[in-house]
């Protein structure tokens, strides 16, 4: 096995173009397990950890561009206020040691249906910036996940960054695991309010071959909110609305029975998570609204 150490992203892309079979490695928290148990014998590894530009985040137009190599711990510490959903999900990844190394880029590269950040990226309409020697393109998160551990990358492409809008309204992430730390998601759910678009982003994780947008739930809620004019004058949501949102979110999943949980449980739990997270996000939204109107008065 060769070990390739590019020091710039351009170099890395050149290698990937020449040897598309090389396996990129950054935090190593996914790739290394496969190597340790011989599930994978790559002919070469591409070490992305020395590429400074991957470990940077910066505003980019109206969005935040988060380099693929920014570890979870920095997302929590440095971007928790601007990307609260992503930070909440990052906080549930593995352990403190894993969060020091693991990256959103790695989560996307592995494309495990159980990856913790995926539902947030979907709910926040994130764009995945991928690059090759042929150029750079943006892939909406919703088009990025193709199947179990399969994503939309071409063989010569690498993940450069994710682009997300700084949160203008509350976001929530919630994950079911059967232990209080270091646990893989049985299922997870993210919700992000987009008042400027008059809609809500919602997505399920670990409950289908890929993480998925809960489109029917999004559409239902957008309709309910605009019909009642709730974006402009927020009031607590009817319990029936939250419940229906939960049911529709659960219907977005097509889970399986596995060692971590049954399909029926996953559907059930997703309905609960969706109902609760929407409640929390909306309550925050109402809270901010009140504060705003009071300060205006």
């Amino acid at each position: 096995m060769d070990f390739l150490i590019p020091s710039t992203f351009a170099e890395a892309l050149a290698i990937k173009a020449e040897r598309p079979e090389v396996v990129p490695i950054a935090g190593g928290t996914d790739v290394m397990v496969e190597l340790n148990f011989d599930h994978r014998r790559p002919t070469a590894l591409l070490d992305l950890t020395r590429i400074a530009e991957l470990t940077e985040w910066a505003p980019s137009e109206n969005l935040l561009r988060v380099g693929a190599g920014v570890p979870y711990v920095r997302i929590i510490d440095e971007l928790g206020d601007r990307l609260p959903g992503l930070a909440m999900a990052s906080r549930t990844v593995g352990s403190p040691q894993i969060r020091n190394r693991g990256t959103v880029g790695g989560n996307l590269g592995a494309a495990s249906p159980a990856g913790d950040t995926h539902p947030v990226l979907l709910a926040c309409d994130a764009q995945v910036e991928v690059a090759s020697v042929r150029g750079t393109r943006m892939i909406p998160a919703a088009e990025f996940y193709l199947g179990v551990k399969r994503n939309a990358l071409e063989p010569d492409e690498l993940i450069a960054a994710v682009h997300l809008a700084p949160a203008a309204a509350p976001q929530q992430f919630s994950k079911v695991g059967t232990r209080n730390a270091m646990v893989i998601a049985v299922c997870s759910f993210a919700v992000a309010l987009h008042p400027e678009q008059g809609r809500v982003g919602a997505a399920v994780g670990s409950a289908a071959p890929t993480p998925r947008r809960a489109l029917a739930a999004e559409e239902f809620l957008a309709g309910e909110l605009s019909d009642a004019g709730l974006w402009e004058s927020p009031k607590p949501l009817l319990d029936s609305v939250r419940r229906r949102f939960g049911e529709l979110a659960a219907e977005a999943a097509s889970p399986i029975d596995d060692v971590r949980g049954t399909a029926a449980y996953r559907r059930h739990a997703l309905a609960v998570l969706a109902r609760r997270t929407l409640g929390w996000a909306w309550q925050d939204y109402c809270g901010t609204g009140e504060t705003r109107s009071q300060s205006c008065a």
Binding site: M1, D2, F3, L4, I5, P6, S7, A10, E11, L13, A14, I15, A17, E18, I25, G27, G28, T29, M32, V33, L35, N36, F37, L45, D47, T49, G94, S95, P96, Q97, I98, N100, R101, V133, N180, A181, M182
Partner: protein, 211 residues
């Protein structure tokens, strides 16, 4: 592919391919440190490995506990295996091979990581600290001393990792309350469940500032 991709290709061939006979990329790092010989044990072990792994082994330098150590490893060798099997530093333990137990926790440039989930070749220009590097002679590190004082272990299988995590937790400033210590120590499993004593030891050690 257009022909103008030639330049970057040549570059990576010259500079970035780390494999047998292609040690240029790390020679510079090696020169930057004083180099101690690997122990006799390690050398003998190297000889045993040679037949099988010579083809893809690469020479690297790891800076462990302040000493630069030269060794040859296959790129697929984890930092954990390099420490344990090659550098004779067996204090770092192997419990699960997948980052789920914390026994292999070491500090890399002051941050704690699980050494089973990183490759030795990726850690060449880093300062690696293992449990063997904490004490100064007979003087234990305050965390080590606190672990003894609080009987914060039974079998000791997780202890090296717990101690390395504890050193980092204190540096990170996550010792404000027992709840905070528990959250930030949750990446290290203790099957003997000496958890109450571990938390007490971390809390106690956090009060001491090392001179």
């Amino acid at each position: 592919m257009p022909d103008n991709s030639e330049t970057p290709k040549q570059q990576h061939k010259r500079r970035t391919v780390l494999k047998a006979g292609g040690a240029a990329a790390i020679a510079g790092i090696a020169a930057a440190h004083s180099v101690t010989e690997a122990s006799a044990a390690t050398q003998a072990q190297d000889a045993a490995l040679a037949a099988d792994t010579e083809a893809s082994a690469v020479p690297i330098v790891l800076t462990v506990n302040g000493q630069a150590r030269q060794l040859r490893v296959e790129p697929r060798v984890t930092l954990l295996d390099a420490l344990r099997e090659r550098l004779d530093l067996t204090g770092t333990k192997k419990g699960c091979d997948r980052g789920e137990c914390g026994a292999c926790t070491v500090l890399v440039d002051g941050r704690r990581i699980k050494s089973c989930l990183t490759l030795a070749v990726m850690r060449q220009d880093c300062a690696i600290t293992t449990v063997e590097g904490l004490a100064k002679g007979d003087d234990l590190h305050p965390v080590q001393a606190a672990f003894i004082r609080h009987d914060a272990f039974q079998c000791g299988g997780c202890t090296s990792g717990q101690i390395m995590s504890a050193v980092a937790v204190i540096d990170e400033g996550h010792t404000g309350s027992t709840d905070e210590i528990r959250e930030w120590m949750s990446g290290n499993i203790c099957r003997c469940a000496a958890y109450p004593n571990i938390v007490a030891a971390v809390q106690d050690a956090a009060k001491e500032k090392r001179p």
